[in-house]
Symmetry: C2
Subunit: 175 residues, 2 copies
Amino acid sequence: MELFEAIAARHSYRGKYQPEPVPREDLQRIMEAGLAAPSGCNKQTTSLIAVDDPALLSEIYGIMDSFCSTAPAVICVTTKRIVAYKDGWGNDRCYGVQDYSAAIENMLLAITALGYASCWIEGHVTDADEQGKRIAELLQVPEDEALICVLPVGRPAEEMKLVRKKPFDMRARFA
Amino acid sequence: MELFEAIAARHSYRGKYQPEPVPREDLQRIMEAGLAAPSGCNKQTTSLIAVDDPALLSEIYGIMDSFCSTAPAVICVTTKRIVAYKDGWGNDRCYGVQDYSAAIENMLLAITALGYASCWIEGHVTDADEQGKRIAELLQVPEDEALICVLPVGRPAEEMKLVRKKPFDMRARFA
């Protein structure tokens, strides 16, 4: 799919998924797209875990209590705190959030281009009930990494509901 | 350009730029790609300002002291602190960093697909010397928005230097 087409076609999907498994080749391509994103000072703070085993998925969905629990696969995103550099005032500068967000956006576009649907599920994962921590334990994520996002992957079984966005002129201008 | 090709071709460019102006139509398409990115609870916290006026650019480059100072245009990214929701423990959840990072990644891909080069310049803009604040004043950015990133846009005049990335297996796996 052409880039601008993929950008326009990407939408957050909160409906049910078709049950057919996602070929691992596709999950691999999606993860490769994520890892190709830039990272502050090339620190590559983001790591990815694809889950397509039904028993493991069902444990994850048990923890998440989420609308995505029919997706036949998920990609879990973890981040490691690595100092990119110290600025001239001695402050540690870390870009982990920026790094994983760029990786997630690449994956959402790849998911769209391959005909799947997804949704950036971060809030419910990182809220104070620590769902992400419990999923991380289940997936044996190293202790110095935090699991901060779960991306469902699968063919949508329902129609995509679109959100309204502000018009261009309310958010962008030429100086 | 095809999506996966754009993702693979995107690289941070720190060389000199060709002086030819970037058509506003292209800057508009790049900004539209940025605004099409998702945002937490659709709060649309990110705004964009394209600058192609040589006098204004030269003022910005005077503030930035940056390697990008030959680019014939820049897109400045601003973010507004908006609470997406309160979690069940009363904590404010804000996704501004995630929102602008997804928007920046979309723009970097659009810049690549249109044959331009760029680099995500955030560190030098948001470090404690407050370059971003001074650029925001110059561009009359509202006080409740922070200018956090400058993306140069132009045709590269030099070869792209690529960074080395860790192999797939060091950053991704199937559970």
